[in-house]
Symmetry: C3
Subunit: 174 residues, 3 copies
């Protein structure tokens, strides 16, 4: 058994594992049970429990990243975004564990597709965000939605797959 | 970087963070990796790994709260309920990280809408429960459902959005 | 309050709780915040953060089990499978917290239905896998899908409930 080789500060009382290469702005609040490495988190952003933020992810200022959410390499979240609980970002369109020769895939064996969440957007809890999409400025993604294509600025989407909805049901998830 | 100011007992061997203001009934079982604060958990209820229970949540007796589930402020779960794995409750219909002036939202900047899960109800894994709904006594929510409105007592719902289904497919998720 | 009685090695720096009865192959990599007991994990498999693997689960060699995923009793995952982030497996078709007499259900009060994931299959992030199904060799389950029946070998499914899709949208989640 082995562990990934990282220089990390482990906070045993708050159950936080923060790699030395994480760049934190001023006044960032990390709640308990956070795992972060190689990422940037802007000033005054809050990160909830049971959140993982991977190498290469960039999160802006004054965001709320809620519990149980996974933010992967390739994801850029601009300032003032709300990312709900249990939101899953994706960066690999064709995920496989192994190569055709049976060897375990390494970082060079797959292509990372970027995802952008523009300023002030909100993503509801339990949403799944496919890779290669842009969620526009101030847009709203309903809870439980599966986003498979771009969301225009200021629009509301919901459902599986996510489609545009009238503003009044913005959080209605459907 | 800062942490939320809470008086909490950290159990470093079981990776549990239990705030001093949690009210626990008799014989409550907390599995590993639990984060709970300001809530009430009734007697003989079990709470699985990677669960967060927020301030103001109330959970009855003899419930099973399974792993990876998030229970927020405003949620009341009565006795004998089964809450599956990865279930996300919601309490804010219009979530935003920041106010119109750009400042980070604080607790008084949004309205908490309550959710009730009545006695003996079961919620399947991966379900998302929108706020302001009541899940009736003995009702069943299928796995992966997104519940956007009340579920009558004894009924089964499934799908996105969740709609009533025949009893025989009660766990069929669709 | 009580904790489950298990002999376990707690790794306080990596936040890992590994019961003594876990069988690990060679070169298994466990990331941080893992809870595993009574399971078998094959050689060179990787297990991400915030993953729980329960008693009786069997995972093959060279698999990738990504963060926030729950693998329960009754689940068998063969070699070379990719299990995305936030994937929920299920083993109880009729989950209830309590018996008709009001007592908390124990292990003998419900029936575990097995699930098989065959060699080389990939399951997208946020998918929910109902119990009693087989996901065939090399099959692909789209992100956010709810799988309610068998997936034939080599096929791609997506949506809620999951249905067969053309190969080209294999990761398109819908």
């Amino acid at each position: 058994m082995s562990h990934p080789k990282r220089n990390a500060r482990s906070d045993r009382d708050n159950f936080i594992r923060l790699a030395d290469d994480v760049e934190l702005g001023e006044g960032v609040r990390l709640f308990s049970f956070v795992n972060a490495y190689g990422c940037r988190i802007g000033s005054h952003t809050q990160v909830g429990a049971f959140v993982e933020i991977q190498r290469g992810a960039v999160i802006g200022e004054r965001c709320k990243i809620q519990s149980h959410t996974f933010i992967c390499e390739g994801v850029t979240i601009e300032d003032g975004c709300f990312i709900g609980h249990g939101v899953m970002f994706i960066n690999d369109r064709h995920p496989r564990a192994v190569n055709p020769d049976g060897s375990l895939q390494a970082r060079n064996d797959w292509r990372c597709e970027p995802t952008h969440v523009r300023r002030g957007a909100s993503i509801g809890s339990g949403a799944v965000i496919l890779c290669g999409v842009t969620i526009g400025e101030g847009a709203l993604v309903g809870a439980g939605a599966v986003v498979t294509r771009d969301v225009p600025a200021g629009k509301t989407v919901a459902g599986v797959p996510a489609r545009e909805r009238a503003q009044r049901i913005l959080s209605g998830a459907v």
